[in-house]
Each structure stands twice: as structure tokens, then as C-alpha cells.
């Protein structure tokens, strides 16, 4: 029989319990309501870079397989559209094929939504939450553009694809990698910008290229269209992703369809659109910002560990 014992020490389990208690106290003090939404969803996510796990058999699955959620975002937006006010959720989320020192296919997310806040106000609240868990520390914020200019001396909005590829080749052997601008920007981000962020403590990156807006609103900034999206890095570890949420149902549908075209082109299965979410947007989502924070990673930083598998009672390999 394989190793039955947990991968995490008891001290780590206690630290996780303490972290969860701190987070619940933080939101209770701010009047944010804890909610639960289903883990099994009848609609998958269209994002071409995220693959869900499927549950295919069972008498309850009368019509179709169900997807294990990759995040509780759509269900929580339906609650917001129904007038929930500020809400948060601590839940499991699942992403196929993501495993490593900082990834487990099953992981714990803290996701919350703040009606009336833009992404800058939410960044400040994320910093306050993180400091309440890890101890007070300074934080800073850079635009995506500033970071590329600083780390790579190039403008990610205007540099041509040949420049991006040439810069990538100075960092790694890209072999047969092929893709559009976003692929090369992602490579430069993971190979050069994130290592630089490792020395920057608590640091937000915001205002992404419009093509990487995901579910964020677009805005004009210095002559470029940006997605009002942010990421939090702590010592170079990506911990949270937030949006000033898109509330335009027409635009949202167009983005889902564009995702599906990209999936089809790459030979990935297309995903049926989440019509319930689109109906909620049509009914009216309040102006809101939301963020998803990886709790296992926050625990990684709180504990000083370097491998997430030593923080999970039973990592993927041990279940």
C-alpha cells in the first residue's frame, strides 16, 4: 500500500485553520457575507488556458456531465445581480493539468466581491487582508506596461511580435513554441517579469492588455485600451487575480464566443456558454470589483514553505 500519511505537518494544518479564522474575522468586521455555491456546474469555462475536470457518471447527471468549478465566479455574480451586496466564499476549485510546486489540480480559493469599488479600491482591501494574515508590510503597484518597460525595456502594447520573440529567445530556448502576441507576452512575464517581482515583496500588477482582460472592463489609458484587471504577487508568487468586473452582457457574450473560436482553432473542445450568467448580467450586475485569492499560496508564504505539497493534508499524488 502506498504512503497513507499526510504530506503536511500538524503545525501546517493548525496554521491553515488559523488563517481561515483570520479571514472570516476580517470579512465579518467589514460586513461581507459568507456564501456557498455549487462545486459541480452544468456549464464549463470558455477560457482557452483553463481546462476543467468533468464528472461524467451518476444517476443525478440526467442530461449531461457536470464540470467541477474552476472558480465560483459565475455563481457569485448571479448572487450579486440578485442583490446580495458584498459577498465572499472560501471553496475548492479544480483545474486540470496544473500541478507543481505552486499548483495542485484541486486547490482552495478565497473569492470576494465588493459592489461600489473599482479595482484600485479593491487592491487596497486585498493588501489589508494579506497584511492581516502575514503581518503588516508595505505594498506597491505597477502597471503591466511599467513592468515590461522596467524588466525588458519594451512596451508590451506597441512592440511587434518579432521583438517579443527575439526577447524571449534571450531568456530561454523556445523550441517549437508558436502563438500570437499573448503567448509571447505570457512567456516574457513568466520568465523575466515574475522573477523580478520575487524581490519586490507585496506587489500588484494592473491594467493588462485588452486581449488579457478576461472578465474585466476595458478603459482608455495613455492612448491604449487596457483591461481593468490586477494580479497580486508576493515575493514573486502569483497569489490573486481581480477585476473591475465587466457588466456589459453584449461584450461578455462576444468574449465568450471569441474564447470558443480560439479553442476551436487550437483543437480544444468548445464550451457551451453560461446562459444563466449572461441572463444575470442582462438583469443588471451592480458596479463591482471582485478578486480570487489562492489560499494555499497565501499559506505557503505565511509558513515559509516552498512547496505547496507540504501544506496540503493530501496533495493530488496522495489521494
Amino acid at each position: 500500500m502506498s504512503d497513507w500519511r499526510p504530506g503536511a505537518a500538524l503545525a501546517q494544518l493548525r496554521q491553515r485553520a488559523q488563517l481561515l479564522a483570520q479571514i472570516r474575522a476580517f470579512f465579518a468586521a467589514r460586513g461581507v457575507l459568507e456564501v456557498e455555491t455549487p462545486l459541480l456546474c452544468s456549464r464549463g469555462i470558455t477560457d482557452p488556458a483553463i481546462e476543467p475536470l468533468l464528472v461524467e457518471r451518476g444517476e443525478s447527471l440526467t442530461h449531461a456531465p457536470r464540470f467541477l468549478q474552476t472558480s465560483p465566479e459565475y455563481a457569485m455574480k448571479r448572487l450579486l445581480a440578485a442583490g446580495s451586496g458584498p459577498i465572499y466564499q472560501i471553496c475548492k476549485a479544480f483545474r486540470d493539468g496544473e500541478a507543481g510546486r505552486r499548483h495542485n489540480p484541486e486547490f482552495t480559493l478565497l473569492e470576494w466581491y465588493r459592489p461600489g469599488m473599482d479595482h484600485h479600491a479593491l487592491m487596497a482591501e486585498v493588501a489589508a487582508l494579506v497584511c492581516s494574515c502575514l503581518g503588516e508590510r508595505p505594498w506597491q503597484a505597477f502597471t503591466y506596461r511599467e513592468l515590461f518597460q522596467r524588466c525588458l525595456q519594451l512596451d508590451p502594447f506597441t512592440a511587434d511580435i518579432a521583438t517579443l520573440q527575439r526577447t524571449a529567445r534571450q531568456l530561454t530556448d523556445p523550441g517549437t513554441l508558436a502563438g500570437g502576441r499573448d503567448l509571447w507576452l505570457d512567456l516574457l512575464l513568466t520568465h523575466a517579469v515574475e522573477p523580478w517581482l520575487a524581490g519586490q515583496g507585496l506587489c500588484f500588477v494592473y491594467d493588462y492588455p485588452a486581449s488579457q482582460a478576461a472578465l474585466a472592463r476595458l478603459a482608455q489609458r495613455d492612448g491604449e485600451v487596457v483591461g481593468e484587471r490586477f494580479e497580486l504577487y508576493i515575493d514573486g508568487v502569483e497569489v490573486a487575480n481581480g477585476y473591475h468586473e465587466l457588466d456589459d452582457v453584449v461584450e461578455q457574450r462576444a468574449r465568450f464566443e471569441a474564447d470558443n473560436r480560439q479553442r476551436a482553432a487550437a483543437g480544444q473542445p468548445e464550451r457551451p456558454l453560461d446562459e444563466a450568467l449572461l441572463a444575470a448580467l442582462a438583469a443588471g450586475l451592480p458596479a463591482v470589483s471582485g478578486v480570487a485569492l489562492g489560499l494555499d499560496r497565501l499559506l505557503l508564504l505565511a509558513s515559509g514553505e516552498t512547496d505547496i505539497r507540504r501544506l496540503l493534508a493530501f496533495s493530488w499524488e496522495r489521494c
Binding site: E98, H103, T172, L177, L187, H191, N241
Partner: protein, 189 residues
């Protein structure tokens, strides 16, 4: 051979890349918050010895390479080939100069070593980390000089030249670290 996806890349796995067998040294999964996930993979080309980092899209796969590391006994050389034997089956393999490379400097008959076979043929030979070899030529020793101090070149029975302390003399057997080519100590006969 089976195919291996990037999430199966483990240190020591041998795969084919651009027609050459390569060994995986390290594999790091990286992903920006949203967007394309990559695997940054440090690999060694087993034909050329080159070590470098290659980036793959996560989920890409490579064909496994028919490469095996075997403990063998070095038998002899006829000048053109070096002959090795698997101790359990007595099967013999001949390796050419390209496969043996600089390892011939540390191969003593009947010593154990590690031979890497690619499609059944020796691809590379790694000597033991420490070998004991006789000095066949060095300047006369200085009596009583056993403290730290100078060193001198000494030629070994295999042709290797290593730096030894001044007190070591021709005919003595010394222990050498083959990874660095450094003298370790004298070995009493």
C-alpha cells in the same frame, strides 16, 4: 516508445528531442495568473552533453528515448574500441571513442563504471566518482615534505595527468576524484 506529457517530465526521464536523446534534469511548471502555462525544462543532450533550458507549452508531449544506464565492468581497449561487460549477463558492449570521450583517462581494467545505452549501443561512459590509479611518471619526491605546500604534475597509468603533492612518488597508487580530476590521497598497496 511511449509518449510523455510535460506533466510527466521527471528528473532522469529520457526523451527524444530534435532527433537526439535527452535527459530531463529539472522541470518547472509556470503560469501567469491567466494565460498560457509553460514548463521550463532543464535538459541534457545525451549525445553532445549540452545542458540548456527549453520552454514547452504545458501539455505538449515528447517521445520517450530508449536510453538505459547500466553498471558495467570495463574490460580492455584495442585502440579503436573500448569493451565493457554487464556483470550479471556477461554480455559485452563495444564503445567508440565518441561515446567514451574523456572518460578513458579514468578507466582501469576490471573497474566498475556506468554505461549509457541508446537503442542498445553505448552512448556515453561515466567512470566511478573515485578511481585508484598508479603513477607512472613524476618528478622525484621531496623527503619529509608532508605538510601543505607545492604540487607537481604526475602521469598515471591511463595517461591522465593530475596534480599531486611533492612527496608522492612514481610507482605509488593514488585516489582521484574523476569529476574534478583532483588528487585525494595515497593508497597503501
Amino acid at each position: 516508445m511511449a509518449n510523455f506529457s510535460t506533466n510527466e517530465f521527471r528528473p532522469g526521464l529520457k526523451v527524444m528531442l530534435d532527433g537526439d536523446p535527452c535527459s530531463i534534469l529539472e522541470n518547472e511548471f509556470v503560469k501567469p495568473g491567466k494565460g498560457q502555462a509553460f514548463n521550463r525544462v532543464r535538459m541534457r543532450n545525451l549525445k553532445t552533453g549540452r545542458v540548456w533550458e527549453r520552454t514547452f507549452k504545458s501539455g505538449e508531449s515528447l517521445e520517450g528515448a530508449d536510453v538505459m544506464d547500466r553498471s558495467m565492468e570495463y574490460l580492455y581497449t584495442d585502440g579503436e574500441f573500448w569493451y565493457f561487460m554487464e556483470p550479471d549477463t556477461f554480455e559485452q558492449h563495444q564503445a567508440d571513442a565518441k561515446a567514451v570521450g574523456d572518460s578513458y583517462l579514468w578507466l582501469k581494467e576490471q573497474d566498475g563504471c556506468e554505461v549509457t545505452l541508446y537503442n542498445g549501443t553505448p552512448l556515453s561512459v561515466a567512470p566511478a566518482n573515485f578511481v585508484e590509479l598508479e603513477i607512472v611518471e613524476t618528478d622525484p619526491g621531496l623527503k619529509g615534505d608532508t605538510a601543505q605546500g607545492g604540487s607537481k604534475p604526475a602521469k598515471l597509468s591511463t595517461g591522465a595527468v593530475v596534480k599531486v603533492p611533492l612527496f608522492v612518488t612514481t610507482g605509488e597508487v593514488i585516489r582521484v576524484d574523476t569529476r574534478t580530476g583532483e588528487y585525494q590521497n595515497r593508497v597503501s598497496k
